[in-house]
Amino acid sequence: MSDTVSVVVNGEPRSLEVEGRTLLVHALRDGLGLTGTHIGCDTSQCGACTVLLDGRAVKSCTVLAHQAEDREITTIEGLAANGELHPLQRAFVEHHGLQCGFCTPGVILTAADLLSRDASPSDETIRHALRGNLCRCTGYQGIVESIRAAGGTS
């Protein structure tokens, strides 16, 4: 039993074919092929699935696809504009903010939400904002440094 849900994804109007129970993360990955949003857990904690919903960071594994109807979603694939990396993406590359990269899209989008409200956050604020984004590889310091660097420029 399939429903059609209209959303805007990365600036483009899209249609999602979903069931009542379909999670937004599955609709994005399987329905639209946007696999940059990752699934790392099943208890809504790891944050690897984070996307922006109307500009606010949310865990797409904890949103029903239906709930996103007529809203604007930004995934990691939609962050770069006109072939140019977003300042956060550039900062993560230049300041070594990633290792395996599995948590990275979620981290970057949470950081985008943070920087849109606090352009120069302290390290403490950054770390607090990352509570919902688990990383196992980096020990977080490269991530904090990258976000701090991007804060200076974006």
């Binding site: 990955r29 940059g36 699934i39 590359v93 948590c103």
Partner: protein, 755 residues
Amino acid sequence: MSEIIGVARPRVDAPDKVTGATQFAADGYVHGLLHARPVLATEAHARIRGVEKQEALAVPGVVAVLVASDLPVATAGTDRTSEPLAREEVVFAGQPVALVVAETEAAAEDGAELIVVDYESLAAVVDVEAAMEVGAPLARSVEEADDEAGDLESIHAGVDHGQEDDPGEELSGNVLDRITRERGDLAAAFASSDAVVEGTFRTPWVYQAYLEPQVCTAWLEPSGTLVVSTSTQGAFVTRREIARAFDLPLERVRVIAEPLGGAFGGKFALIEPLAVGPALALKRPVRLVLTRGEDFQSTNPASAQVTHMKVGARKDGTFTAIEARMIVDRGSNAGWGVEGTTSALAPGPYRWEAHDIRGYGVQTNRFTFGAYRAPGAPTAAYALESLLDELAEQLDLDPIEMRLRNAFVEGDIGMGGNPFPPFGAVDVFERLRDHPLWSKRDSLPSDEGVGMAAGFWPGGLEPAAAVCRVDSDGTMTVVTTAADMSGVNTGFAAIAAAAFGLAPDDVRVVTADTSFGPYSGGSGGSKVTYTVGAAVLRAAEAAREKVLAAAAQELEIAPDDLEVVDGVVRAKGAPDRSVTVKEIAQKALRFGGRYEPVEGHGGSAQTSSAPSIAAHLSHVRVDRETGEVELLHHVIAQDVGRALNPALVEGQMRGGAAQGMGWALYEELAHDEDGRLLTGSFLDYAIPTAERVPEIETLIVEVPAPDGPFGAKGIGEAPVVGAPAAVANAVAAAIGKRLYELPMTPPRVWKALRS
């Protein structure tokens, strides 16, 4: 060359990872894909009497429900490759018992929910010490000594097993392995000591918690080749295991190692049979993506361990004797255990006059055990480094000075009986000794403490090969089959660029699959940079010889008088007489071309390993009312041989230290008395978050490894080894009491303060 090696360049895979372009193993589209959902045992020890499939089969979209007899497994062993689904006996709660295969993930999960397994409960063996006693129920009814799976041990550490004798100790059939390592006169050495301390240290089962749950996709090509696309640390290991289990010739199994979303030792040929079996049985592509809950229950975390240890020293700080009894909970894994490595590493990077170390590998009904970053090492270091601090206190010696006195230097005979290669122990201890945090440790506020500890990893060895190929645009492609777990590809690019004479941006690295890639062993054991990097270096040098030979003809100058710099081959001392690498390549790679393609193949087979040591300072504050330990600062000094890329090296140091903080304060996989997992999600199992990990200061020490590329060593594991002990020593310094069990959770610290 000096501008390439030692430069903190961004990772070569970073742009794809920050844009979401990297395709991890669950991301690729496969036509006609079926989805598998495992049904996991809910009993820790039981006989399977039957599996009810009908309700599940009636779910729309469900294609098959498979049990062990439905999978074309050819081997009879009890390892996870030979027995991916339990045949008759379940040996741990979480063991896969059946697979539901469906057109969609949702249908597979709907079906899996309806499977009913009829169990006949057997006595569950959950306590490892009780399991050893004669008369204890056996964790596995039928003992199988399965040596074929024993090879997996060698991937992680090249340590021998010491003498395997059995001096009259009567133990149950759950004790699968006993290791004895003895040297010197233990009694005399203790007798000559001015201080002797002992203790029993407990560490729990700990989960690698890679962010990417395990995943594998398998399908048959029309030609009959089985393709296995998997998140793995070892493509060739996986190929070997699959070929063995399903009785397929090696050339018919093609393993593609997809980008790893973290692994840390846990992704070595474990779940592939659960995708391969259905793919072969149903002749359709099958993907298995474990949910996090399934990953918690059914993969292969690090063994719990009980270590009784006693150490002695003389009043000048010379270490005399070490005696240890190390009981390793192997869980349900019959094939191998970390008793070998933990007993070899128990004496740490120090000289002792006598040692008597015994390791026991004991099977229980708790998990299949697996490797986790320096397997067996953090647990050994926790015991040793805690006791060394007690020795220092009793003898009124500075803990770092005391360790310096005994630290291995080049030429000392290690546990394996071989002389130690160049080793930076003295250097890392001196860096910490001179650190301001160490000097102010006695003048901190009363609830704060600073602790230090060290840990080393011997470094692995395995022959490897690589190819460097120059393309017609003058850029180079480096080909290996090494899974990039720690950023090694970026290192390879730098090595090849520096050795050949190209700008690093003109070198790309590709990871080939087993069907045509040059051999490399699994990525683990802290050996990839050391061994595969050495192969890359030789391949680049071989390619360089080709381009020099061609340029020599072009320029009519002897090859010895030429150099290659930034993609230009030019006369030494007369740089205007030159030809570009691109020009040579274009003259080679065309119809009627006059030069051999500029390609090099390189191999390596080092026989001397490159041990790496890391020492830590941990600064903590303890809330005495709640027992919470706050990590304020951390310093790690590590001997890395040569930092090919300091940023990547620092990343490994910080990541390892942070995992050690998890060992110390947060992480424990707990079972109830029936052997069922209580902590099977991130709601119960705490991995360190950004708020809880402090700033980690990294001090890189370089003591070049003679056989490593540009002196580099494998450095991925050493950083975790001493970290839990450093935090434990810091807590002891802060509260004046020592905890003998990890993790040091708030309730345990609170209890220690009140006992």
